[in-house]
């Protein structure tokens, strides 16, 4: 854990019908397991849908990044409904629009382009993790 004890909570959307949902999930793993494991914690959206107490505590006491597959923004809405402090919302579709060469395909298993899109997304979020943690000190969360 980082020095101040705060982590950035990362909530991907659990989308199961399109490759964009899988990219959201893969990007969250990339961020939490590979790029910033010391500064991030993964949140299962399924737990939050019914307001699981531990998951609620995680999103209300830490700055939250949501990663959604499409414009329905299910992760952002679900976290906010649970009094989570969403400081940064990402939609995979937006990232793809900036990287049209990385067209994701496959839902159970992403193609190489989809995996790369997830890495790009995770890398972009990683650059603002310090900023998000600093926002906590300014009182952006309920901690």
């Amino acid at each position: 854990m980082s020095a101040d004890g705060q982590k950035v909570a990362v909530a991907p959307c659990s989308g199961i019908g399109k490759p964009f949902g899988t990219v959201a999930r893969e990007a969250a793993y990339e961020l939490c397991e590979t790029v910033c494991p010391a500064d991030t914690v993964l949140v299962a959206l399924g737990k939050l849908v019914l307001g699981d107490a531990a998951a609620r505590e995680t999103v209300s006491r830490n700055p939250v990044v949501t990663i959604d597959g499409c414009q329905r923004m299910c992760a952002a809405k679900t976290v906010k409904r649970n009094r989570g402090a969403v400081l940064h919302e990402v939609m995979v579709l937006d990232v793809f629009r900036r990287h049209r060469d990385l067209k994701p395909e496959g839902i159970a298993e992403l193609n190489k382009a989809g995996e790369e899109l997830a890495r790009v997304l995770a890398g972009e979020v990683a650059t603002i993790v310090p900023e998000l943690k600093a926002a906590v000190a300014k009182g952006a969360c309920h901690a």
């Binding site: 199961i16 969250a28 993964l42 299962a44 959206l45 019914l50 299910c74 679900t78």
Partner: protein, 174 residues
Amino acid sequence: MPELPDRKVGIVACCGEEIAEGTVSRLATLKVLHDLRPDDTVTICLPLFVAGDAGECAFARVHPTIAVDGCDLRCAARATEALSGKPAASLVVSAVVAEQGLAKPEGRRRLDDAGKAAVEATATRLAALVDALAAAGDAGRAAESAMSAVQPQARNVACACGRGGTPAKASGVA
């Protein structure tokens, strides 16, 4: 002869990101949707019950639905019941693993061999449940079709995520 409604079996998976069993729930569901019973099943993203419109939230009231959960917290089953409608059946990956004497799955991001075996076992059980619900639905639709001539009612359900886009009609009597 009235047209028989095409009511597919719905599957809602918890897709839990934190543990390997959640990943198994997702991959087993996808295997049934894409490979084992593609013509008989639809799905919806679980959080769409919170974020979606009225049609999406009615998913489990329109489709006989199976909830697939990674562990006995049963997030998908409980959320489906609370926000959409009571699932017709429920499956828990950790219970399937225990019943069949399989090794505990590991690797939430990339499943190990035990995880892949759990996907196969869960998908097989899930497909059998789909068959049972589809058979029960056929019997029910035969009775409904006679009534639909009295007062037909059609509802559309489309999953924003793309897999449940087939319009589903449900006939009933007000």
